[in-house]
Symmetry: C2
Subunit: 164 residues, 2 copies
């Protein structure tokens, strides 16, 4: 089944396998990217967060654009210019909104709703993504831990480039 | 109004100005990209084609991913390995489908429906896009005409890089 999907020029998104990456309430689908399409410059994800769930606090040196398809939530955005992220700015996000995350800025996206899923298309550059994870907003940038390859990129064997 | 939008971290997509780029039946919105966000690695468009309308036959050296949100149509895909595109392959596209266009392959997307708009999110790498346009499928690649900056990138003053 997967082999058929990989060989198709046009794919039905609902037939692309999803994963929760070991996190309750998450559904991740790579719509197009490094593993299935051997793309080197862009990757597109469809991510769905159940009410109350969120991404880790993390940063990456690639560009990132979000398009919110359903639901609502909060973007938390820390600083990359201090030694640690610090108290994050908070921005409300909602269906039919878009936002970009500046390169290397630590950030986190929450589904702060109580009933509705938060569903977003996420676009990153230079896949596969190299994600540095923070335990909290006061952790120094240099202590953030690289998770590579990330859960959905286990089949990628490229070495990570140097990062911040 | 535009200045307010440019300064916002989170934007309402329905408030981003659209353009028809001089083509009846087209609505183009740059959701995030080189002009408004100074992105260098990815750009995201929301494009809507009225029934019977289509893109030009064209190629570009960036990666491109389509996510079809509404409607149906046809992807025509020519070859970059011969001297001219040749008879294109045809692929049906539909809501909730996705496809990527190989770098430098001449292609065209049609709304072949009679009633419904074809709406797609389009992701490209390395904006602003450098588009080479063909008059027909038998035009040699070297005769395709560069249109740069493209309609929605008039404010970009970067020089195009060398292309195929």
């Amino acid at each position: 089944m997967v082999l058929i999907l990989l060989g198709s020029v046009v794919r039905n998104i609902s037939e692309i396998p999803s994963s929760n990456c070991g996190r309750d309430g998450l559904s991740h689908i790579t719509i197009a990217g490094a593993v299935a399409d051997r793309l080197k410059e862009v990757e597109v994800w469809l991510q769905t967060f159940a009410p109350g769930t969120r991404t880790p606090i993390h940063r990456h040196s690639c560009e990132e654009v979000f398009v919110v398809l359903k639901g609502a939530g909060t973007l938390l955005l820390g600083s990359s210019s201090s030694k640690y992220p610090g108290q994050p700015q908070e921005f409300k996000i909602h269906a039919n909104s878009t936002f970009t995350v500046p390169i290397n800025d630590p950030h986190q996206v929450w589904n702060t709703g109580e009933l509705e899923d938060l569903q977003m298309l996420v676009i990153i550059s230079r896949p596969p993504v190299k994600i540095f994870i923070y335990e909290d907003w006061s952790m120094p940038h240099v202590a953030a831990k690289l998770k590579y390859p990330y859960y959905w990129d286990q089949e990628c064997l490229n070495s990570p480039k140097d990062e911040l």
